[in-house]
Amino acid sequence: MLSRIGNSLFWMGRYIERAEHVARYTKVHYVSSLDAPLAQNKEIALESILDMVGVQAAYYQKHAQLTDDDILYYITLDDSNPFSIAANINGIRENARGTRDSISIELWEIVNRFYHNVNNYNAAKLQHKGIFNFSREVEEFCTLAKGYVSNTLIRNEVWMLISLGIHLERAIQISKIILNKLYDVAKIDPSQQGGTLYSYQWTMLLKSAESFDMFQRHYKNNATRRNILDFLIFNPSFPKALTYNLNYLQNNIQAIGFQEEKTKGSLTFKIGKLATQLQFLTIEEVEENAIEFMNKTLEKLFNLARLLEEKYLIF
């Protein structure tokens, strides 16, 4: 397979996963902010949306204030925001277009159709349809696209590289969401309805990771900080959990069989080390310094992505 094609497939996977997470995060936070317990908390929720995508500074350059409509438009459609959901959808489509001879017609057509759907949106239509519906459309599209990835492709390098992109991006997005919520929680003033606000933020964390229901099944409503972090970081059988995705990446990278020496700097070595580390850590060891731990993990994930691109996907 051409390295350029490999690169496009990898990024198609990443953009699919990224679009889905940004859409869901925006939806969950915006909808929750509507009846947030305190006005100050509404602001935390809105800023949190910008932080999740890393565009807070850019947003304030354009807009003086945090207003609902400005934020929603900026995150979803604004052409001046290179990290908008529309930009992600465009990224999916451009990469799919460049790899049409590798992927299935079904996958291409759903991507192409949805791209045009989003392209037909403008501020008025967004307002009319509402962010809830827009985000749900995006989430459903991403799920459909991944359905076609799983059900129409041969299990060869094409499928492996898209999957690699999806699961690496998912590990990154879940880490970012956890980190973001840890920061949001740190902003809470415990003297003001501390208890309600804490559980409100933890619920948003689970919902943003599409994990609320499964968490409740698993922990029978025992929503403590420790249980939630344990579930999202260490559960090996839940597809959103960090560990699950790292194990997946390890198998996937081995299966692709990049031609490399198994030395310290190799891809196989690095993913192996990262995945195994999580297999042998427990929540008790990280919960005290959760922010530091998540920051380090995120950095390692970024390094892994960079190494993969520089060594095998450059052209």
């Binding site: 051409l2 001879d101 192409n112």
Partner: protein, 493 residues
Amino acid sequence: MSDVRNYEMYKGVFQGYNLNPAYLDEVFSPAGEVLPHYSLVLDQFQHFTAEDFKELNELAKVSFFNQGVTFAVYSDKARGVERIFPFDLFPRIISAQDWNHLERGVIQRNMAINLFIQDIYHKKQILRDGIVPPELIFSSSHYTKAMLGFSPIGNIYNHISGTDLIKHSDGEYYVLEDNVRCPSGVSYVLSNREAMKKTLFNLFRKHNILSVQDYPQQLLAMMQSVAPETDNEPTCVVLTPGVYNSAYYEHAFLALNMGIPLVEGRDLFVDRNYVYMKTIYGPQKVDVIYRRIDDPFIDPLAFNPNSVLGIPGVLGAYREGNVTLLNAPGTGAADDKAVYSYVPDIIKYYLAEEPILNNVHTYRCELESDYNYVLEHMEELVVKPVDESGGYGILVGSCSTREQREELKKAIKANRRKYIAQPIMSLSLHSTFIEDENKFEGRHIDLRTYTLLGKDKQFVLKGGLSRVALTKGSLVVNSSQGGGSKDTWVLSK
């Protein structure tokens, strides 16, 4: 006579259909009778109302749009607007007898052109014998010195040729143009057929139509026949300028249907006169390149040094015989519109046969008598620059203004070699569904056929691309000039 059906019997969509006696109508005789090979289609169409057609039309459009069979229209919006290539649901039908004649004719013509290209890069015998004037070849911007004395594998130069034909009011087919520099449009032939099968499947049950689906397999087999000798199965690729090229859809389509990689220049590199592609597992040798990049851009070392599309050193690898390029560089010297006028002589010279297909009489402005004739009769002629493609720069005398003609006269005086002129040919009319009118009207059509030449093998795609000038009265069918297309059926008997 009860079994003669007249178009007036078909109410609704054919109401008020105008026969224009100046042109040949592909569907109706001058008396308005339906020609026999169209009768089944017309019988089917009479069950449809204009509304039904509108609906079918929309269905076909959505199918094209979702498949991404689109071309980009540039605008000031950040993301470009995409349009589909207009497609008409009324198929163009060619009888078995007509097709047999056309197929033999285009093979003869393209084989003669191949021998001609071989000759002008070797002994130049045809020039020495005074059949074709040497200045005509040596002054062509497409004549490529790097090809002198070099023989490509199988001695094939124009592996893929697009021959443009029209049917004149005398009922005869004429060749309008030869395209031997990677002609485009074949993906529309295959996509049109798919769209037709989805929307008007009933029609297919009643006809014996020759398939077009084997084209990608034939193309691949042709590529393999001209591959350098290798230990393994040869690696064939399609080379595209990239996703922003207007024909990118076609490049991807062909690669996908042949099951071979679609590469860009930046995916390839040359090492010690071999071409490799960069893969996730390291370099892999490439044997045959179907390039959809024009000669000047293919190798920045040999041609345009500013090209970022090409592969530095590929021409060296080619001349060593380590990789095959198709079509060969330098074929453009033979599809020049001035050379066109010599093709009947070229056929006689190399094959000692009479040309099967007619040529349109061509006035060459570089000849004194022709030059004067063109200046005096411009209103009755079509004047074309010899080296442009896509319908650019064409002047149809009868539809031109005085200023346009004066301007062109000046341009011709300044560069006589650049212009040829032909009598205005009466492209046949074919009924076509006109959306704005909600009914069928006659529109001018042509036919581009696709011929493959490999080592000891020839193949012609059964049918080809029928292009329609959708603007009323227009004779220019190119997609870049508002043309559309039709599915083209060749009947098996």
